[in-house]
Symmetry: C2
Subunit: 169 residues, 2 copies
């Protein structure tokens, strides 16, 4: 059910229905609106869950045995998602839903934990590792801001940003 509802949210976003209410989303997903309310509580929580889950799925962090290659693999996925209209729409929906109200950031924590795990593996191998904040500042922020400000994401940007981060260590 979770997948079907996420699909419905993304499909509605893609056709410009950024304010679709739960009954419409449930109808498109072929599920009972009551189940959607019970599981997610509100349209905002559902949108956050769908956007973070789907964006996270576009850029898994590989376990290659080298921090450089782990980060390059991840950044390539982020770059690909940010070059794709569906990824761009999900990021815009995420940012629009995050503010200015004070929703809990539960949904974002999982992505930070993915990165932390890769950094912990590097530390355990004796490699120098940045903090999660440094990864977000050096790599994710520039890619996301290009999309939000509608500047082009040139191929290779993710790799360039990762090299810059590692050079700073």
């Amino acid at each position: 059910m979770r997948d079907a509802v996420h699909d419905a949210v993304v499909d509605l976003l893609v056709i410009g229905e950024i304010n679709a209410a739960i009954p419409k989303i449930a109808e498109k997903a072929g599920v009972n609106p009551t189940s959607v309310y019970r599981r997610w509580g509100s349209r905002e929580q559902l949108l956050l869950d769908a956007a973070v889950t789907r964006l996270r799925a576009t850029s898994p962090i590989p376990d290659t045995g080298s921090l450089r290659d782990d980060l390059l693999g991840w950044a390539e996925g982020v770059e690909r998602a940010m070059s794709d209209p569906r990824g761009q729409i999900l990021l815009r929906a995420l940012v629009a839903t995050l503010g200015p109200e004070k929703e809990p950031l539960e949904h974002l924590r999982a992505r930070g934990e993915d990165l932390q795990a890769a950094l912990d593996r590097a530390t355990a191998r004796g490699e120098p590792a940045p903090s999660v904040d440094d990864v977000l500042d050096f790599v994710l922020a520039p890619l996301y801001l290009r999309v939000l400000f509608r500047r082009p994401v040139e191929p290779g940007t993710g790799a360039l940003l990762v090299e810059r981060l590692l050079n700073s260590l």
Copy 2:
């Protein structure tokens, strides 16, 4: 008139009226709606103009005779604006208005030109200077993304990001 209309837009955003239409904005500004339509054409163009003008005013780039001090002065202004609920609301409104339609980016060009002027002054003095894109990637993107993802902007973040940029040269 431009100032009064910008004030009205910001005041409405602050009280949560993020979708206020032109007649309501004009009424609050005490001007004729027809003049607003004539000058800005649409609610979106007006919002972009108000957000960019006001955000730009919060972080002028000083001409100190040193690129480091120019950038530190500017980044401090950006940091201050991003720690202020009014600045945060303006950034959210700007991002929400920018997409996913294809508005011209006229409004953003002026801010890039401010930065380019500071970088050109540094080059003329023989100082090493980054590109405008580097300044956006290293300094603006991390500050803006903290606000958009509702992470705290710690005091001194702007200065830290500027030092990082200059160390990379």
